[in-house]
Symmetry: C2
């Protein structure tokens, strides 16, 4: 900026005035300054500006599990969209389901003085965020609740979703339903298992631990599990999967085989409707989740000081055919 001032033959402060379009600068002077700015390719340093103004850095942080997963990239896009509406940039980071990495990312964002934070929790402890929460930085947790702090949270109705899936399968005559869920220490996985059990109970199906396999899952592990639960005289006739990745593993495992079980997947995914048979799912829109979280965050940034809220977004069953297969 001092270079610009020198070239234009004015003081630094005058350049600042021009940059900020403040009144009180002669038109000719302003023109000279603008020319100098253009010639030198000057860009005002936002870091210094934020330091000086001390108010807002114009950024928010988003910590999620994996941007590469379509579910989270849809969420990211929605957050970005809302942030743009409020003139903010988004810093993203993937935790890979590692609590340490989540913490590291969140604290890094805090050190960068983001205006707010949206977190898909990987761990169960979030006390490390107490200083920021106490000092008024808004934090919103999405998809899973925080471990040991009280803060805004946006969830989906996992229990209801899983129960609805079971009801759907039961309505089509299934009595032996397998559940392949994610690692049980992941909140959503535990909730979906709970919904699965409730659904079974409501349908009068006795809970059979033999038919439940919680993750983490890989392609081979899913294949092995299916070999087990789909075999024998008490074989499962239907499968409920706990998230989009497991659903894909199952589809791949049963592809080409005969006697494919009925299937309902948690999370919708692209092309589910074009498979044969089309895959019925419990649908939750990542965009809706992201938008809700971001809107909550910006409401806080705009002065909403009501007590922490817990939003529970509805899910809905999308029957497409794979869940309507009758038991053989």
């Amino acid at each position: 900026m001092s270079d610009v001032a020198r070239l234009a033959g004015v003081s630094i402060k005058t350049v600042s005035r021009v940059v900020n379009a403040e009144p009180g600068v002669h038109a000719d002077t302003a023109k000279r300054v603008l020319a100098a700015i253009d010639r030198l390719g000057f860009r005002r340093n936002l870091g210094a500006l934020n330091l000086r103004r001390g108010s807002s850095t114009g950024t928010i942080g988003l910590v999620l599990e994996d941007v590469g997963n379509p579910f989270y990239s849809g969420l990211t896009r929605a957050v970005e969209e809302v942030a743009r509406g409020f003139g903010r940039q988004v810093l993203t980071g993937s935790s890979d389901e590692d609590p340490d990495r989540e913490r590291e990312l969140a604290l890094e964002f805090c050190a960068r003085r983001v205006d707010g934070l949206i977190v898909v929790p990987a761990g169960l402890r979030h006390g490390y965020l107490m200083p920021e929460i106490t000092s008024g930085m808004p934090v919103v947790f999405v998809d899973r609740p925080p471990g040991d702090v009280l803060a805004d949270t946006v969830l989906v109705d996992n229990i209801e979703g899983a129960a609805a899936a079971v009801a759907h399968l039961a309505a089509h005559g299934h009595r032996r339903i397998a559940f392949l869920g994610d690692a049980p220490d992941i909140f959503t996985a535990a909730e979906r298992l709970r919904g699965f059990r409730e659904g079974c109970a409501k349908a009068g199906i006795p809970y059979d631990a033999e038919l439940v396999a919680m993750g983490p899952h890989t392609g081979p592990s899913v294949r092995a599990t299916l070999d087990r639960v789909l075999a024998g005289r008490s074989a499962a006739t239907a499968v409920l999967t706990g998230n989009n990745r497991i659903t894909v593993h199952v589809l791949r495992a049963v592809a080409g085989g005969t006697g494919r079980p009925a299937l309902v997947g948690f999370d919708d995914f692209e092309l589910a409707d074009l498979l044969d048979p089309p895959v019925s799912v419990v649908s939750l829109q990542p965009g809706t989740l992201g938008r809700a979280a971001a809107e909550l965050l910006f409401a806080r940034l705009n002065g909403d000081t009501s007590p922490p809220r817990r939003l529970m977004l509805p899910v809905h069953l999308v029957p497409r055919g794979s869940g309507e297969v009758e038991p053989s």
Copy 2:
């Protein structure tokens, strides 16, 4: 920091020393300072640090078309991964194929003094980045070349890919091949069209403009185009699609119908192998693209001053069945 100093009864400078683990602080003093830091929830302000040090902000900017698109989210993930290895955070923004938005995002990132920039160009003019390029900020363009500046660029071999797809279809007896590409002012779309023409020429197939429809495409427009090119006595027997979204539109349009044409799609996508028939594609890994770009960027940041490079990554045809359908 001054609060910490006051609480610990030391000077600000001593706190700074402790925070930076500098030698020359008495163990007892350090302990007092650490206790104060913990009690106050102090976090060192990275913005101020960057201002003071003036060197690196520890961030890079990534401007792409749409994080929500699996292709770009895969790319994003790869960039994030590499950046993490070099201790950098990633700022992302979606341009939605709007040159103004691309410019706005890129300049915003520059104003935040990112250490480097990775851009999937939306427009054809990038002269606005000249000041930064001249001043040594590394900029890498991915997927498409920049318009009017000389800079590192990572592309894929679109021409070869499209030509290979045509050769594949021709080898299976197709002589009437339709091409549905993106808007012709998008570099990749133009290149793929060129590859399509070259492939046709090489296979001795006369180029028929009637069978080519360039975007932008929507579901209905794709449907209408297919109705046209697949009808009549000179109907196309095969279709080549110019990107993953168009491929999905085509799949949806032909789903349920009879007499489905042979199909090869540009860009691989999840579940392509599980459709019926499985979809043959020209595969280009977004992760490979992102990694190459990020590695190039960090090579520059680490002092590589060789002339701008242009990387051309290979693509490969993945035959899965949909391209092997014989013409009826």
